[in-house]
């Protein structure tokens, strides 16, 4: 877990902060991180009507940029605006949440899994405000993984949910790029670090070639 010590506060993580997002009855506004995700959720909520699909793909160039944090934070914040929301954890390589606390340790939603398995013929009437779908890790081909995610997306769409997908880093896996044609929009995450700008340009070029709808950049200063 990534413990952060701040003056006057107990040791909390990004995951702790994200977990608080939709459980507070009133917006507090004293946490810049929470306000950031609320702002991001508002922006995405405004963009959703313009998208062909109600799904957002979170990607970045390298591991450790904060994709899982952004995905979970966005999913949490969107819950207050456009519930239900389905968070699809497709980052079978990074799994940032488990390592650094960026991803809350939510249980996998059984109802969503049931809905996915039942395909779209029988939409689940009572999907929780936020659900998590964990892509199975292990010896599975990328095509099988893409198929799993596609079915999860279909299930979310059948239930009127907005899907937020956490993916592996683009320079580590082509999974994210193979999914850009199946989602409504793409959010690119970059961290404050020494980085060559040509990397961003190359990834943007790939996204344009694949016909992705790029919504914008989330810059992680953490």
């Amino acid at each position: 877990m990534r413990n952060i010590s701040t003056a006057g506060h107990s040791r909390r993580t990004y995951g702790d902060l994200v977990s608080e997002l939709d459980f507070l009855p009133e917006p507090v506004g004293d946490s810049p991180v929470l306000e950031t995700f609320r702002l991001l959720a508002i922006q995405v909520e405004r963009m959703l009507p313009q998208l062909e699909r109600r799904s957002i793909l979170i990607l970045s160039a390298r591991p450790g940029e904060g994709r899982s944090l952004v995905a979970s934070g966005l999913a949490r914040a969107l819950t207050a605006l456009v519930a239900p929301v389905v968070l699809i954890d497709a980052d079978t390589i990074g799994s940032g949440g488990a390592r650094n606390g960026a991803m809350p340790t939510w249980p996998v939603d059984g109802a969503l899994s049931h809905a996915v398995n039942a395909v779209v013929s029988e939409p689940h009437p009572r999907l929780a405000p936020i659900s998590k779908f964990q892509v199975a890790a292990g010896q599975r081909s990328q095509l099988q993984t893409v198929d799993d995610i596609t079915r999860a997306l279909d299930g979310a769409a059948a239930n009127g949910a907005v899907a937020v997908i956490d993916t592996p880093a683009c320079l580590s896996s082509s999974l994210a790029l193979s999914l850009v044609g199946r989602v409504g929009g793409v959010i690119y995450v970059a961290r404050k670090r020494v980085e060559d700008a040509s990397t961003h340009r190359e990834i943007r070029g790939q996204l344009d070639l694949l016909g992705a709808k790029v919504l914008g950049v989330v810059f992680n200063e953490g």
Binding site: I4, T6, R12, Y14, P32, V33, T36, F37, L39, L40, Q43, G66, L69, V70, I187, Y188, A190, K192, R193, V194, E195, D196, A197, S198, H200, R201, I203, R204, V214, L215, G216, V217, V218, F219, N220, E221, G222
Partner: protein, 355 residues
């Protein structure tokens, strides 16, 4: 590294190239303050470049530029101007000007002689003194000296003369012992005598035979017989003398040849001396001509070039430092840079919990 990265670093550290440029310009300025002196230059043509041509006998000649750069000239000029030879040597430069395009192959060499001094007038005076003394010294050093030539070849001259004397003495001794003065003439004359006597003997024999056939007086026959015998005796004696002279002729000719050969050696030495002196060539002093007298030289081009070099070096060093900084000390990317590179707006910035 991308050009944009370098430009961003340059914009951040522009003061470094500015400082290096300032330092370089200051260095150039200081250099000129310390070293610049007025300069005068003149142009000298050596009409017949002896250094390139050489002499008939192939010995080397002293080039005009060597003369200008010599310590001997520095001494002469220093004596004329009342200074030291070292002060002259360090202030005088000479170089061969390149021939113009299309110049003939044997074009004369043209030298540029320049001199520096504290004032333009001093520079002109020094340059003129150098040209004057260098011309004299050049002529002096390159003009042939017959006495020196004879002195250098004295052993050869002596040897040749001894060979002549020795051969002549042998010839004289031979002619005296054998009475063979002008032997070839003697042989030729003797051959004529023998021929005449042979004719006379034949005539006498014919007269004797005619007398006997005509049954003339016995006294006449006896007289004819005596005449024929006398002529025959003279002929025999003449033939014997001719034979003796002919036998001596080859020995005489050999001795005469030795004398001639010794004289030819001497003649060769005399011809070499005449060629060295070069009696049929113009005086060497005519070969050095001053095309342009000493005149002040403008330093504007040198100033411009050195300042240009200073600017280039200063900027180069400064840019190199900026480049190295950009390579080894790259700053972290900002949200603005990422958004610009990615070509999309920055939606939010997640603040650091440590802030």
């Amino acid at each position: 590294m991308e050009l944009r990265t370098f430009l961003v670093t340059l914009r951040r550290l522009w003061v470094i190239p500015a400082l290096t440029l300032l330092v370089a310009l200051s260095g150039v300025l200081t250099y000129h303050k310390l070293t610049d002196q007025p300069q005068a230059a003149s142009t000298v043509a050596v009409l017949d470049p002896l250094a390139a041509r050489g002499t008939i006998n192939g010995e080397a000649q002293i080039d005009f530029s060597d003369v200008v750069q010599s310590h001997q000239l520095a001494v002469l000029v220093a004596k004329q101007l009342g200074t030291t030879p070292d002060a002259v040597t360090s202030k005088v430069q000479v170089r061969v000007l390149p021939p113009p395009a299309g110049a003939v192959t044997n074009a004369s060499l043209v030298y540029s002689v320049s001199a520096q001094a504290k004032t333009p007038a001093d520079a002109i005076r020094l340059d003129n003194a150098v040209i004057d003394q260098a011309t004299k010294l050049y002529v002096q050093l390159n003009t042939p000296d017959p006495k020196a030539f004879e002195q250098a070849l004295a052993p050869q001259f002596t040897s040749a003369q001894n060979a002549i004397d020795d051969a002549q003495a042998k010839l004289d001794s031979f002619t005296k012992a054998n009475d063979a003065a002008d032997l070839p003439s003697q042989v030729q004359q003797q051959r004529a005598n023998v021929g005449q006597l042979q004719i006379s003997v034949s005539q006498a024999q014919a007269d004797l035979a005619a007398a006997k056939a005509a049954n003339v007086d016995a006294s006449l026959v006896q007289a004819a017989t005596r005449k024929e015998a006398s002529l025959q005796a003279s002929l025999t004696a003449a033939e014997e003398q001719l034979s003796t002279q002919t036998d001596l002729e080859s020995q005489y000719q050999s001795l005469l040849d030795q004398v001639n050969q010794a004289k030819q050696v001497m003649q060769g030495l005399v011809l070499a001396e005449q060629a060295y002196v070069g009696a049929d060539r113009p005086p060497y002093a005519n070969e050095v001509k001053v095309l342009d007298a000493a005149q002040p030289q403008s330093q504007a081009l040198i100033l411009l070039l050195t300042y240009l070099v200073g600017v280039v070096l200063g900027l180069l060093v400064g840019m190199s430092i900026v480049y190295l900084v950009a390579v080894f000390h790259r700053p972290e990317q900002t949200s603005l840079e990422v958004g610009r590179a990615f070509g999309a707006p920055v939606l939010v910035r997640i603040p650091s919990l440590e802030a």
